[in-house]
Amino acid sequence: MLSYVLRRLLYAFPILIGVNLLTFALFFVVNTPDDMARLQLGAKHVTAEAIERWKAEHGYDKPLLLNETETGVQTLTNTIFFQHSAAMFAFRFGKGDDGRDIGNEIRTRMGPSLAIALPVFVIGLLVNITFALLMVFFRSTYLDLGGVVLCVMLMSISGLFYIIAGQYFVAKLWNLLPISGFADGADALPFVLLPVLVSVVAGIGSGARWYRTIFLEEIGKDYVRTARAKGLSEVRVLFRHVLKNGMIPILTGAVVVLPLLFMGSLITESFFGIPGLGSYTIDAIQAQDFAVVRAMVFLGSFLYIVGLILTDISYSWVDPRVRLR
């Protein structure tokens, strides 16, 4: 197990390097620091001095890969690649365009992000599984058919509408919860409820439908017939035998989705004014703050790889047939 995790972490390195090279290529090679400066400074006819000044301020006034003016190790380290990409491996992200330290921002914004994403993840999983089990229990009846049709309809609605409808009806029309914003500590609860509610509802359609197919696949297997032949009731067959086997793909699928929640909360956080990483990213994209976007890309990839490793570990927990070595 330990040797497996170590090996997987070793494998993670080349992937992170790949991510870094790709983002480096996207941000600095295809799109030179000069282009960036011109885009940032806005006007078409900026002076060369202004561009140089901008580059110097942001530390982009260095060669990309090799600094021939330096000697020794410095030829490699005093470059844009090393200073802006390689430094990320030490989680040193530098400063954003607003002059604030990106690492600090990430640390302070992690809390609000988790306050939304975690409940959505847990509640969503429970709700979807319950809904899926209900449909499977009533399979080949009109209840099941109605459930599937409802799921397809829920799936066909853009996530944006869930948020807009939630904000409009729950917050504005009925005044039940604040429309957006955030607070610290326990005061955050009213601000968290609506985004969580909306996100969970938005996920039911695809989630419950997917889990339903997983359970239905399990229910057609031979061991279910054996369980019934033992005289177990349908509820017991469903909850003990089918659920336990169905949880293997569900749990492992959910674990790898964990980092993807990161993307989902992008929209939610921005709509609800949650000062989390999602709204940070979205602001950075809209302000074209490349330093922040790059940092978030790196962080996202890192979390994804952690998610992959967690997936394998969770596999070995829920499925006795899987041994990690």
């Binding site: 090996r7 031979d222 054996t226 019934r228 032949a229 033992k230 005289g231 177990l232 003990r240 006795p320």
Partner: protein
């Protein structure tokens, strides 16, 4: 004897097909009733109807099922649940799939104990252990904590039986309980079932397609065909003189020891069950059918201890015996076609941080073979012994790790594979996965000719048509896709494909094990005809010893990657020298040895080839093993010029 189960006029439909159509039979307490039939005849659906466990879309349309006088079909579902696993339990064919993979077997047995005997905690644990003891699981306390995947096939099926016994059933339904198991394991499991029935006075409904299994285990037999029961009788009467033409043809289709003649086959196919029937359902395939058979469905007629549904029962000629035609043993000169020396196929096992190779799985470990032109060598062994890997390594479908393969005197090298491929081809086990569903039959046949540039492009079409004719397929078969054909027809296509490049050697990997007996007979006959006609040599890989004797000139017996005995077919099968071969031969259920006394049984399972036992690989299961066997692997000893054995106990020439 008291009637335990009484089934009357049972009709079960799935969708529009009446898969069980008016079946009636009785099972007495302490009796084994065997329901015999080929695939799709409705025997499993009968069993599932009794349990009321039909698949989705299935329903029972008519009939009664009485267990101890109580009609099960009238019970509410809740009451039926106490019957299932309680008074009536069932075991299934594939124990790997039938057990829940993520729940420990002890818990799975415990569920049944809690449900039907209100046992929990320590009491349940003790009872479960006692049950495992009863079904002969060694070290039961530890095995209760095992997951199904940690157990061998034989142990899994014993667990299934233990689970079925947990509710102390009066009736045990066994649906093909040993079909997925090797012969030596099958013998063990059947012995367990026999002993349990004796001890507990259970009734048993044994569902099987295997006449051999019936012969050794059943008290009474019912033969099913196309959803109906055709014949019923005591085992003795049925095996002495089967009355229905279908039953007789099943017997005639079975290859038997000392039998070199052609096997009888049943023409045509099993009818579709969603059509309406008039007359006898077997009439279209029956050689004795008269006009009345096609017009009027026959009723039951009783003959002593038998009853049969056939208009012509009683007036049929006495069952004729096949003439045991001797095969012309020395007719062909023994020119070696294929010579294999020291073939090894090792798969590396990687572990640890850097995935270093820590060992090898020795799937094939030093195998040497000779096949003469126009002759058949059978490679026999249980699943996992490496026999299929040998076949694939010969064709370089699996890269051999070591060894020399020579074809017609010429060593095969990786650079000259083309020559090998023109001279040696393969027929696979499963006719459903061996044909690409997206290709027309003619394209399948042409593929090899095109790839190996056999013949002129213009003449290949005609060659394909000739091949189809040769393997007995209709002329228009070429334009169709594989799904239009039955299993047997597909296997003919696969044979035609192999023959398309006119090879001298065909490697047949269990070509009939997925087929019904009557279809198997057709394919075996075809293979034999083709050999006589074209002078092809076969390497016939199989686990079925009955087939070996019918087809093979020589036999090589494989155990754990090595050949342990090799010699002329009749000699090896009738006078096996290696204890493993002896056990294999003894474990084959034979219909003509119905009265055979208890035969020596092999204990335990085949060990893993990753970590084979020291010394003779077979010693842990060998009844004769001594110190010598534990220390060194025996050398080959010739018992005569053509027959050798690797066993310390066998004296050389």
């Amino acid at each position: 004897m008291k009637t335990l189960l009484d089934v009357r006029g049972l009709v079960t439909a799935i969708g529009g097909a009446r898969v069980v159509d008016g079946v009636s039979f009785q099972v007495a307490a302490g009796e084994t009733y065997a329901l015999l039939g080929e695939s799709g005849c409705g025997k499993s659906m009968t069993a599932l109807s009794l349990m009321r466990l039909l698949p989705d879309g299935g329903r029972i349309d008519a009939g009664t099922v009485e267990l101890d006088g109580e009609n099960l079909l009238a019970l509410p579902e809740r009451a039926m649940r106490t019957v299932r696993g309680g008074r009536m339990a069932m075991i299934f064919q594939e124990p790997m799939l039938a057990l829940n993979p993520v729940i420990k077997v002890g818990e799975q047995i415990g569920e049944a104990l809690a449900l039907h005997r209100n046992l929990a905690g320590e009491a349940a644990h003790d009872t479960a252990r006692a049950l495992l003891d009863a079904v002969g699981v060694p070290d039961p306390a530890r095995r209760l904590d095992a997951y199904p995947f940690e157990l061998s096939g034989g142990l899994r099926q014993r667990m299934m039986i233990a689970m079925a016994l947990a509710g102390q059933p009066r009736l045990l339904i066994a649906d093909e309980p040993t079909t997925a198991l090797d012969v030596t394991i099958q013998a063990q499991v059947l012995e367990v079932l026999r002993a349990l029935r004796r001890e507990r006075q259970m009734g048993m409904l044994l569902i099987t397609h295997d006449l051999g299994v019936v012969a050794r285990n059943a008290d009474r037999v019912g033969v099913m065909y196309a959803g109906e029961l055709l014949e019923e009788g005591t085992r003795e009467a049925f095996f002495a003189a089967p009355q229905h033409p279908y039953s007789r043809m099943l017997f005639a289709a079975l290859p038997r020891p000392g039998d070199g003649g052609r096997l009888a086959t049943i023409p045509g196919q099993v009818p579709r069950l969603d059509a309406a029937f008039t007359g006898c359902r077997f009439a279209p395939r029956c050689p004795y059918a008269v006009a009345r058979c096609r017009a009027e469905s026959p009723g039951w007629q009783t003959f002593g201890a038998q009853r049969v549904r056939c208009h012509r029962a009683g007036e049929l000629p006495a069952a004729e015996m096949r003439a045991p035609g001797e095969r012309p043993a020395a007719a062909l000169p023994a020119a070696p076609l294929l010579q294999v020396d020291g073939l090894k196929v090792h798969f590396p096992i990687r572990r640890g941080l850097l995935q270093r190779t820590v060992g090898h799985l020795r799937a094939v470990d030093d195998v040497s073979l000779v096949i003469e032109a126009g002759r058949t060598l059978a490679l026999v062994g249980e699943s996992g012994c490496g026999k299929t890997t040998v076949g694939k390594a010969l064709l370089h479908l699996v890269e051999p790790s070591a060894g020399r393969i020579a074809l017609a005197g010429e060593t095969v090298t990786a650079a000259r594979l083309d020559r090998l491929r023109r001279q040696a081809q393969m027929v696979f086990q499963d006719p459903f996965s061996s044909l690409n569903p997206r290709m027309r039959v003619v394209d399948i046949l042409l593929e090899g000719m095109e790839a190996l540039h056999v013949g002129e492009a213009a003449q290949r079409g005609a060659a394909a048509a000739r091949l189809l004719q040769q393997v007995g397929l209709p002329d228009d078969a070429g334009e169709r896709y594989p799904h239009a054909f039955s299993g047997g027809q597909r296997q003919r296509i696969a044979i035609a494909r192999a023959l398309a490049v006119s090879p001298q050697l065909v490697i047949c990997d269990e070509p009939t094990s997925a087929l019904d007996v009557s279809v198997q007979a057709q394919i075996l006959n075809l293979l034999k005809d083709l050999q006589d006609e074209l002078g092809i040599a076969y390497l016939f890989i199989t686990h079925n010893l009955a087939v070996v004797e019918y087809l093979a000139h020589r036999v090589a017996v494989m155990y754990l990657g090595r050949i342990v005995e090799s010699g002329p077919a009749t000699e090896v099968l009738r006078g096996p020298r290696h204890p493993y071969t002896q056990a294999l031969v003894a474990a084959v259920p034979r219909i003509d040895a119905a009265a055979a006394a208890a035969t020596p049984q092999l204990a335990g399972d085949q060990p893993s080839p990753i970590n084979p036992p020291t010394g003779c690989h077979f010693h842990p299961r060998c009844p004769q093993a001594d110190a010598r066997c534990r220390e060194s692997y025996p050398d080959a000893r010739q018992t005569n010029a053509a027959h050798w054995v690797r066993c310390h106990m066998v004296a050389g020439e």
